[in-house]
Symmetry: none
DNA sequence: AATGAATGAGAATTCATTCAT
DNA sequence: AATGAATGAATTCTCATTCAT
């Protein structure tokens, strides 16, 4: 079971194998239901080795969360086109986000679904990463507002709220796009009935959905119930 | 802990007490980490009675999911102002949704966070409920498009995708609003720094965020990366 | 479930219903695996009533053992043709035994299979009944020996041993005859392939199998390994 | 209790220790009443180790049944004097049977008393072993009939029935001989009041009891009730 | 005569974790 | 660098039995 028997592997490599196995297992089973036995077997090593290197289940989960967080932030950061206009920056960041989560569905599942539901101590780690992204988006919205010459009309906290909502919507879209459930047609772009949207298509959709509304908000046009 | 000792209670009442305890425990701990011992104690009864009435941990969780699903759908349905315009209907439904999730944060946590991550069998129940809501929102967007006289321009599957995104954004907002973490300012409305937004405020924000963008989409104005 | 609802039944009748249910349940499940719940439901009454009348699971099992023992001894005793020759008496007793066990397979299963394997306290009850039957057979063999005029040649304890063996063979035959397993042809009499033998056929077979050997023994002819 | 504390024992040895403890416990308590706790303690190990090696109570019971079945068949097979006459072969096989069951009373109790009364799935294993022995005895009786030149007179199914009866009688004798109840004198051979018969004595008794009768049957002499 | 409500005590099974090599 | 052997501490679930009416 697991990887083909290969003895005497350098520690760094073994650790990566273990964490890969852990990501996959935590994503599929959840923190509690994942057993160290399963992780060790999937990694192709014995359990004591996992403990020797990663210390405990909790530490292992934390290490996984951190690794995946860092990777996600790095992917988004790398995707942003620094010198473009704010909307284009946002779009390129979203594209990086959707591309990374699509390529690493298990990592995303651990961050988005598991880590946040298994106790405060794990959640804070993810919250920190999320805050970093929200801060970045907040900056973009503020910049766009300034570009549009309406700086005074959107309160800082309102901007932050909108950033939160936008990030939330992106997460929701990513989750939906990665779901393997065939609950009907995928509603994105030209890639055909039922196909999973590409990262660009997902980013387009979200920009259309939200950015336009933001633009109106910046112009002071508000929707009101009455 | 639990309710004040009150012996010889009719079955229906006891069952409700147990399910209340279960909702709370599942929400806080997650399905696996929640123990039947803890649930029983919180309900103020012995474990065997929980098994006698609710059969098994799995059945109990399913019962909880179903009860909370039904309650949520009922709350949203009841809140919708049937004869109003599409946007007003959506707004009123969102208000009902935010009000209910704010009043029943544990129920919402079970549905949104726990049930969807603990195995397919639980997830389908929630997926069914969600599909019902998405269907309703899809209808409203289509109605709005017709009112706006642009029926032909938005493909059915595009409408469905937008409905998904909107529901996802609402869920994300509800989760954020209910989060007990004090990670900074709440960005909504006039209720003051750090305060949780009222249901109406949350609905306003979402309408501003999304509905305007939808309006532009319906008029054929699209955001494009270039 | 259970008998049709009929309230206010006299105690004697209720007790019989309960013991009938108990016999059936103990026979099918064994003492430990049989639950008082199942017995009560099968009897069509509530559990507290079973306890009120029969006191405890152990008492219930003992009551069942006693009732079935008494019934079996009575059936065998009634079947014996008192004034016939010894071999005819034995044959008629065996016929009664096979007839009763065939008519009451659950009772026989409780006595033969369950009671003897669930602890000394239950086994002694059955042992007493068995001893009574062995005593009766011992007397018949002794009488036959005397009739055959060879009293001195068979020691008392040898006679007792033979009686034990004969009773054992009869029990084994009864068990086999009552088994519902279709492991091949039934080897008895003219009742057709695969049919269960009648009580008379079973008795004939056993007499042929054993009584003839006993006759030779009584004449001093012994089988020896050399 | 259990073996003297000896840590770090190879798996094969530990498994044997556990199965020895299991045989003993199942024999004394029955399948249901035997607890894994008791078995583990008797084996001198912790419960988790029993589960690690033997998987479950059911698997453990099955493993025990299989091991004891194989051992019994091997013992009988080894004891048979292949080139002797049919009666001598039967006698030697019976001797092996009685010797083995006397040496392994717990194993025999598990096979004969427990396995057959704890549900079909266990019973079939024992039934298969028993069928093998019955087949062997059937062959011997048929051979004896041929030696005696009366092949045509005993129908095949009658032979099979007699073999069943003979095996049943042997089982019954073995059970009686092994019984720890002191219900009176043992009736066998010259070994003294109350002593358990040797395997040879038991075999002699059974041959005298049954083989002579078979001889008469083969000569066409039948006992009839009239 | 009869039952709905309730539980203490245990049973099987799992799992994170350590020890000795 | 790596592992076979081993366990303490839960956790789910069952069952005989009793109480109050």
């Amino acid at each position: 079971m697991g990887a083909a028997k290969s003895k005497r592997v350098p520690r760094a490599v073994r650790e990566r194998q273990m964490m890969d196995a852990a990501v996959r297992t935590f994503a599929r089973r959840g923190y509690r239901a994942a057993s160290m036995d399963e992780i060790a077997e999937l990694a192709g090593v014995s359990k004591p080795l996992v403990y020797l290197y990663l210390n405990s289940k909790e530490d292992l989960f934390n290490a996984v969360i951190r690794r995946e967080s860092v990777a996600l932030v790095a992917a988004v950061t790398a995707a942003v086109e620094r010198d473009a206009a704010a909307d284009r920056q946002l779009w390129s960041g979203l594209t990086g986000f959707f591309a990374h989560t699509a390529e690493h569905p298990d990592g995303w599942a651990v961050l988005h679904q598991q880590a946040r539901t298994q106790g405060e101590s794990f959640a804070v780690e993810v919250a920190a990463m999320r805050a970093e992204i929200v801060r970045f988006v907040t900056g973009l919205i503020a910049a766009a507002a300034k570009e549009a010459g309406c700086a005074g009309e959107l309160a800082d906290r309102e901007v932050a709220g909108l950033a939160h909502a936008l990030v939330g919507a992106a997460e929701s879209l990513a989750e939906w796009a990665n779901a393997r459930t065939a609950d009907g047609a995928s509603a994105f772009g030209p890639s055909g009935e039922g196909a999973r949207p590409t990262a660009e298509e997902a980013a387009d959709t979200l920009m259309n959905f939200a950015w336009s509304g933001l633009g109106r908000l910046m112009r002071g046009e508000r929707w009101t119930p009455a």
